[in-house]
């Protein structure tokens, strides 16, 4: 789950990391008041979940509260990459002596959070790591103990930072690591972490992402502290009708799982496929042999007849779909006969001949004899495990290419 900049700021603040005075505003008037309260020159920043704000004119500087209000009014109306802003963030134009970088991410190999720190902040950390590796400190965080400050201190010290800067930066990095772990983040980044002219350290900009699997147990932070609504899922794109319909069919019945996607797919061959790895392999196999999938799908966990039927119907009703291919890697939990019944039912209910509509049925495994018997009765071409995923996909492609347009 992604957060707006003002939310990330709030999270950092809750963790006890110093920030400048700031205001999140949804009207020009609020922005004026925020600028007055901050005093002096301010920055007005659009709050959108999209990059390229600066380029799009979503970040502006103001010397007076009136100017701040005028900029806020413009930015609040400005669409950036198809997104309208949630509001604006009003920040003081900080007097920065030096910019640093601090972040925590998961290291999947070590299976521990990894802290990163650099005294070359404000720019892309990957670039710094490439050109000035001695300016990037790295170190793992313990999973089981309360996170000790020294783990952060070692990382800061590795960049050569010492003196009062080391002593100010260390607790900030340690607190960032604690919030990363406590709030189930997959990314917690402060860039820049600024040393101001008075020697104090503040987080000027922060980015946070929370793991989807943990959203359920982070209600206190999400709903109470940040007041994010339950249905505000922050998806990166709007689901299509097909995707929404398949999700609704899936949610209506707890037995098994079906998923469907069709963003970026515009072909004539509907795919009723599974499971996770099988679906990836089969989609590749269809495309590599010249086929044009109309969609992507995943069947798993032994769905009901209604669910299998629902998915097949949604696929068949997509514009341009001429035939469907029903294929899975060998199943041990999902029952072949149930999927067979589902796809036959879908064809019949739409007034289509299963033998014509189902280009191929290749699901070997649990209850396959029962499943194949049903399909044979309707004249559907079936194949068992002696036909590979690649071969089955190839047969489906050959059939649809030979079909009259």
């Amino acid at each position: 789950m992604r957060f707006y900049e003002f939310e990330a700021r709030k999270i950092v603040e809750l963790a006890g990391i110093p920030v400048t005075k700031y205001g999140f505003c949804t009207t020009a008037d609020e922005a004026r008041r925020a600028a007055e309260e901050i005093g002096g020159p301010v920055v007005i920043k659009s709050q959108v979940l999209s990059g390229g704000r600066m380029k799009a004119g979503g970040v502006k500087f103001a010397d007076t509260p009136e100017e701040a209000a005028a900029h806020a009014a413009d930015i609040l109306e400005l669409e950036i990459n198809g997104h309208m802003p949630k509001g604006v963030l009003v920040d003081p134009k900080a007097e920065v002596k030096q910019e640093y970088y601090a972040s925590v991410v998961w290291d999947g190999t070590a299976k521990k959070p990894l802290m990163l720190f650099s005294d070359m902040g404000g720019i892309d950390i990957e670039e710094v790591a490439e050109t000035h590796p001695d300016h990037v400190g790295k170190g793992h965080v313990t999973n089981l103990m309360p996170i000790p400050d020294f783990e952060a201190k070692q990382v800061v010290a590795a960049t050569g930072v010492t003196g009062s800067q080391l002593n100010r930066a260390t607790p900030i990095l340690a607190k960032l690591a604690r919030l990363f772990r406590d709030y189930d983040m997959t990314l917690a980044e402060i860039n820049p972490l600024a040393e101001l002219t008075d020697g104090s350290f503040v987080a000027l900009d922060a980015h946070m992402e929370m793991e989807a699997e943990a959203v359920g147990r982070q209600k206190q932070l999400l709903r109470v502290r940040l007041e994010i609504a339950e249905d505000d899922t922050r998806e990166t794109y709007q689901p299509s009708d097909f995707e929404r319909n398949v999700a609704a069919i899936d949610a209506a019945d707890h037995r098994g799982v079906i998923q469907g996607k069709d963003h970026g797919f515009e072909g004539n061959l509907g795919l009723v496929i599974g499971a996770g790895g099988g679906s990836l392999t089969l989609t590749d196999a269809v495309r590599s042999q010249g086929g044009k999938p109309a969609n992507y799908s995943e069947i798993g966990g032994n769905p009901s007849v209604a669910k299998a039927c629902g998915l097949a119907k949604e696929v068949l009703e997509k514009d341009g779909v001429e035939k469907i291919a029903v294929m899975m890697s060998i199943v041990s939990n999902t029952r072949v006969d149930i999927v067979a019944r589902g796809v036959i039912k879908a064809c019949l209910e739409l007034g289509k001949d299963p033998a014509e509509t189902i280009a191929i049925f290749r699901i070997p495994g649990a209850w396959e004899d029962e499943g194949f018997k049903i399909l044979e009765r309707y004249g559907v071409e079936t194949c068992d495990r002696s036909v590979s995923l690649w071969e089955a996909a190839g047969r489906a492609v050959a059939k649809i290419q030979g079909a009259p347009a």
Partner: protein, 265 residues
């Protein structure tokens, strides 16, 4: 002969009274696995296919009268960490986590504790492992008669991030007359207990294993870690890797997620 499991391996099933766990228990018993107990808090005294159910792992160990080798964990995500801690701290050394959708923090904590106690975790979000004709631990391969069809003994070690593809690949090896030494469904999450490189020392030490097949997907650096291991250890084993998800490279697929939780471009 095999890695991690043998004919004498004993294990328990945590969460044994759940629907899927009941099936899994039946399948494993039919295959010849030695399940010596099950744990579901509050269900002590029941039986699942003749396997006694206990409230705690300690009770199961006591009933067995000695250390238990492994545990298959099938409890819901919110309770998995506690169940795995309980298994590890009661001396269990091989833990298969079937449960999916466990937050990474919990997985990382379980793995760190396992490392401290000399235990090994397979999964989460996996189907377990199987030594053809000897023992299966988890739902891998399905009912015993289906598992027998797909998995014949042979010289190839299999590791896969997809449970279904573990069986698909093993079935191909079986049909080709080669067969499988041990097949491990390692799990589809971003952080798992045992990545390819961490299982390689076992296969390397297993004289019967002559080659390795892996199934992979985009995301993470498990494959890079494997190639480093092979180089550093001058491995004797040829590795054939199959990677699915080529279509995800397309421009119009950017920002979408497919397949397993760990599958990210």
């Amino acid at each position: 002969m095999s890695i991690l499991l043998n004919r004498e391996t004993t294990f328990i099933v945590q969460g044994i009274t759940g629907r899927e766990a009941v099936n899994l228990t039946r399948e494993c018993l039919d295959y010849g696995s030695k399940i010596v107990g099950g744990v579901t808090p509050g269900r002590k005294g029941r039986e699942v296919h003749g396997v006694p159910v206990f409230d705690t792992v300690a009770q199961a160990v006591e009933h067995h009268g000695g250390p238990i080798d492994g545990s298959v964990v099938t409890v819901p995500p919110a309770f998995t960490k506690d169940a795995v801690f309980e298994a590890i701290l009661n001396g269990i050394k091989l833990i298969v986590i079937v449960t999916e959708r466990i937050p990474r923090r919990d997985v990382a904590q379980m793995v760190e504790l396992a490392n401290m106690e000399g235990a090994r975790i397979i999964g989460p979000n996996c189907l377990g492992l199987i030594v053809p004709d000897v023992c299966k631990m988890g739902g891998i391969g399905g009912p015993a008669k289906d598992a027998a069809k797909a998995y014949a003994p042979g010289p190839v070690g299999v590791m896969s991030r997809s449970g279904g593809m573990t069986t698909e690949i093993s079935s191909s090896l079986t049909q080709a007359g080669l067969g499988v030494s041990t097949a491990v469904s390692i799990g589809g999450d971003a952080i798992i207990g045992s990545a390819y490189a961490e299982l390689m020392p076992y296969f390397e030490a297993d004289e019967e294993t002559k080659a390795i097949v892996i199934y992979t997907e985009p995301g993470g650096r498990m494959e890079a870690q494997l190639s480093e291991w092979v180089k550093d250890n001058d491995s004797r084993l040829p590795i054939i890797a199959f990677m699915a998800g080529k279509f995800m490279d397309d421009e119009e697929m950017k920002g979408m997620s497919f397949g397993h939780a760990g599958t990210i471009l």
